[in-house]
């Protein structure tokens, strides 16, 4: 059901639901960007409309709401392992279409790749999604190429229009909330992008043979393996276990999982000194082929959602989309054509 909602009513909706949900939305952190006088847009818990960045696509993804950068799995006490209390509140995530598609990838990794993940699952079943419409394309995104520009699996959509908001409410309780406050009904289709400035083409016959192409060598020097591309990516899910102790003398501590990056040193290190993919070019190849080839071989659809965040964050101006657009050439090279 579609409604035209005033700012005041939307603020009331936020305040009302903040009681039962952590509401995660893009938030502008003024002056916290990488360069002087720039801002950082990241996800944060909000309770008011004014806290939400409605224009710019966030520089970091929403994934920290579901898989925190550092998450306590359990506490070690003398002889026992104790789970932390489950989250008190559910979560409402305000996502653009690319990120809503990314949520499907997180679900597939955490719920369907091997046994379901206890910590992810217990929060996920209490998550609701608000789709933020995209009236215009962001600069670096290529959602249209990846088929992630349109989303329909939301509980509510949100588009700012001339001082008000248009919402398409699929959640019956939320629809009742707006109807009870006299919001006018009207047909609403969330805004979506139909063309991006950046386009990518993944070769139809892309195969693991492309690993032998010379394309990857350029990244040996260009890439500084900082891992930022992984940390901003809404579909990167890797983590490493970390044990933490409060006091050297007490046998008390906790085990956490922290975000890991396949670009950063140590990702593949095994005890005794063995490691794989020492060159940055090999790591770039591993990442690009995961996003554009082997995830699809396993799950049936591409992992990359085309948000373009990795292109924006790279300190070496390496373009992921640019690399993808060289895959066709690279395939021809390895096929000797």
């Amino acid at each position: 059901m579609g409604y035209r909602v005033s700012r005041e009513t939307l603020d009331l909706w936020l305040a009302t639901h903040a009681a039962d949900y952590e509401i995660w939305a893009p938030h502008r952190f003024v002056g916290e960007g990488c360069f002087s006088d720039t801002d950082s847009v990241r996800y944060a818990r909000v309770t008011k409309l004014e806290e939400i960045e409605l224009k710019e696509r966030s520089h970091y993804s929403f994934k920290e709401a579901l898989t925190p950068a550092s998450q306590t799995l359990f506490y070690f006490t003398q002889e026992a392992c104790t789970e932390p209390e489950p989250p008190v509140k559910g979560a409402i995530l305000l996502l653009r279409s690319c990120d809503l598609h990314a949520l499907r990838r997180l679900d597939d990794m955490y719920l369907h790749n091997g046994p379901a993940d206890y910590y992810y699952a217990r929060l996920r079943e209490r998550v609701k999604v608000v789709l933020l419409g995209c009236a215009a394309s962001c600069e670096s995104g290529f959602c249209v190429s990846m088929g992630t520009n349109v989303s329909e699996n939301y509980d509510m959509s949100l588009d700012p229009v001339a001082g008000d908001f248009l919402v398409d409410c699929k959640d019956a309780d939320w629809a009742a909330f707006f109807a009870a406050r006299g919001c006018g009904e009207e047909p609403v289709t969330p805004a979506h992008v139909e063309e991006n400035a950046v386009k990518v083409t993944v070769p139809e016959k892309l195969s693991p043979a492309v690993a032998k192409a010379s394309l990857w060598n350029q990244y040996d020097k260009r890439c500084i393996n900082c891992g930022r591309c992984n940390f901003v990516c809404p579909t990167c899910t890797c983590f490493t276990m970390q044990d933490l102790y409060y006091d050297e003398n007490a046998r008390l501590g906790e085990r956490r999982r922290v975000w890991a990056s396949c670009m950063v040193d140590g990702f593949t290190d095994v005890a005794g000194g063995g490691s794989y993919r020492k060159k940055n070019g090999e790591r770039m190849r591993f990442k690009v082929l995961h996003k554009m080839l082997d995830y699809k071989q396993r799950k049936g659809y591409q992992m990359c959602v085309g948000c373009g965040r990795c292109d924006d964050v790279c300190p070496e101006y390496i373009s992921f989309s640019g690399c993808v657009n060289h895959l066709d050439e690279a395939m021809k090279e390895v096929q000797g054509k």
Binding site: E79, C81, E83, T240, D243
Partner: protein, 264 residues
């Protein structure tokens, strides 16, 4: 309710067998389904977790042969006496003995690579009626690095055993040279239908498989077991991923037809 797979359970150290200065087998209490080639995450609070292959299976216990090479395993060696260790698992596919039943079997293993196949060797050693000829080629660095010395006494009665050392003096029990040296000499009824299992360091596996293929083995009759960094064992942490394959879920045991496609 979904089970919390991350919380380890305490397992009592029942017995410790010292093979070398840095390699012990820990006999751990465990009741449950487990196959050779599977692994457990062994945990020491504060130091972390390490994936360790099952090197033996018996009523109420599993053997874990641990090499003292890292943060966690160092601590295991310091702390085990009269104690228990925290485990999660078993994880991975393990060896499917049915693949080898009724066939001529060759096992090529290097160093701690003997651990994951020890259960397979023991099974077909004790049940010669379940297979045709059997040869194991096992390599260690030196005489001081040989693992499972007592097992070798038994295995010598049950099958052809080549126990080789990288360097040192040849003795009635020890040959000298890398395992690959002894693959061309394998006496087989029919190489084309024989099956082989290869486990060890990456280079050893690569050259051993090449030598087996040269000897006439078919790719689909060779199995390898891979070792990678694994933080979860549950297909989540991503460290063991190779292409579209998760070593912890889909492996660590791979038929070579699949194994040869794995490019890190």
């Amino acid at each position: 309710m979904i089970r919390n797979d991350y919380i380890p359970f305490p397992s009592k150290v029942l017995e410790v067998i010292r093979h070398t200065q840095i390699e012990y087998t820990f006999r751990m209490s465990f009741d449950g389904e487990v196959r050779p080639g599977q692994f457990f995450e062994v945990s020491i609070p504060k130091y972390g977790e390490a994936p360790i292959s099952v090197s033996g299976i018996g009523p109420g216990f599993v053997d874990l042969t641990i090499r003292r090479v890292g943060k966690v395993t160092n601590e295991v060696f310091e702390r085990y006496v009269g104690d228990s260790l925290l485990l999660r698992g078993p994880y991975g596919n393990g060896f499917d003995l049915n693949e080898y039943r009724g066939r001529e079997l060759v096992v090529v293993a290097g160093g701690t690579g003997v651990s994951p196949v020890r259960g397979v060797i023991d099974h077909f050693g004790a049940h010669p009626e379940e297979r045709k000829g059997m040869t194991i080629i096992t390599g260690f660095k030196s005489v001081n690095d040989v693992l499972f010395k007592d097992d070798f006494k038994r295995w010598r009665q049950q099958m052809n055993v080549v126990l080789t050392l990288d360097a040192g003096e040849e003795t009635p029990e020890h040959r000298i040279g890398l395992v690959t040296k002894f693959i061309p000499e394998l006496e087989l009824e029919d190489a084309a239908s024989a099956v082989a299992i290869v486990v060890g360091p990456p280079a050893m596996m690569r050259f051993s498989v090449a030598a087996l293929l040269e000897r006439g083995f078919r790719e689909e009759n060779i199995w390898v077991s891979q070792e990678r960094k694994m933080c979860c064992g549950l297909g989540k942490c991503g460290h063991c991923k190779i292409g579209d394959t998760y070593v912890c879920l889909d492996g660590p045991v791979f038929n070579y037809v699949k194994g040869k496609t794995l490019l890190d």
